[in-house]
């Protein structure tokens, strides 16, 4: 799954996802990606977020919506992402998932749920401080 967040210099935001879902899924199964507030969410007055991982679990917690609502209250993007991961961890400690967060001033962050086979989440950033797309990684919590 690709989840993408774009914030224009005017502060206008957009977000989106595209995926071919889960391998060997039961036919008809739709994951979290196309669900607004789960796969991605954008609101010019607060920020934008996108998620990837075990969609059957993620979509029950609307991670992207929740992260944007944290940022609406002034929570730093990294903390907003971590709070969302922690919220899901309480119910499903072994879920596979990661969230990207960005607020309307261009600050951004990410978080992921730590598993034996998933300890870091890598994502791409491009902003006016960089002259090319840059890969960044976060340690999972």
């Amino acid at each position: 799954t690709i989840g993408m967040i774009v914030i224009h210099k005017t502060g206008h935001t957009a977000a989106g996802t595209s995926t071919n879902g889960l391998k060997f899924k039961i036919p008809g199964r739709v994951g979290d990606s196309p669900v607004p507030g789960s796969g991605a969410y954008a609101d010019d007055t607060a920020g934008a977020a996108a998620a990837t991982g075990d969609g059957d679990t993620l979509m029950r917690f609307l991670p992207s919506y929740q992260a944007v609502e944290y940022m609406r209250r002034g929570v730093d993007p990294t903390i907003a992402c971590q709070k969302v991961i922690s919220r899901i961890q309480k119910y499903f400690p072994k879920f596979f998932g990661a969230v990207l967060c960005a607020n309307v001033t261009g600050n951004y962050g990410a978080a992921c749920n730590k598993l034996p086979t998933f300890t870091q989440f890598s994502f791409m950033v491009y902003n006016s401080l960089k002259n090319q797309p840059t890969e960044e990684k976060v340690d999972c919590i």
Binding site: T1, I2, G3, M4, I5, V6, I7, H8, G11, H12, T13, A14, A15, G16, T17, S18, N20, G21, L22, K23, F24, K25, P27, R29, V30, G31, S33, P34, V35, P36, G39, A40, A42, D43, D44, A48, A50, G53, D54, D56, T57, L58, F92, K94, F96, A98, L100, G106, N107, P116, T117, F118, F123, M124, V125, Y126, N127, S128, L129, P133
Partner: protein, 184 residues
Amino acid sequence: PGPLPLVLNTWPFRNATEAAWRTLASGGSPLDAVESGCAVCEREQCDGTVGFGGSPDEFGETTLDAMIMDGTTMDVGAVGALRRVKNAIGVARKVLEYTTHTLLAGESATKFAESMGFVNEDLSTNASRALHSAWLARNCQPNYWRNVVPDASTYCGPYKPKPPGVSEQDGTTCKGTGDTHSHD
């Protein structure tokens, strides 16, 4: 405050980031940038989890999910279990622009896509067919069934609900097992 404009995307899909940035730089809107970035991954089949030829379902078919959201108008277009159309994010954008709906799904979403000029084509490839054949050869493991007969952790289907009163099957066949090899 961080510097704007900003493009962020999950996983190291560099070409997608580049495409979105270029779209912004050439005067495109944030929606145009998201659409062009995600479309790159659909064409390039980013790590096999985006676009055609990946993640076959139990019947061996690849279906696609996508959404696009405008943070200014709070407008959304999305497709779920889209069949036989490659450019899922492009169809989602058409749902946003040409309907007042939010999410279209399945075979009917394909009919909508064709009415918008998208090509109806097979999304399978040799790679997805090989993935599916290997899965069948492994007695359909892993799968997402539980509380059924025959035992889904050992056999392929077709499955039927387990008769009441029979001991519960461990429902964590695939749930919460930290399986990072198959995800959305």
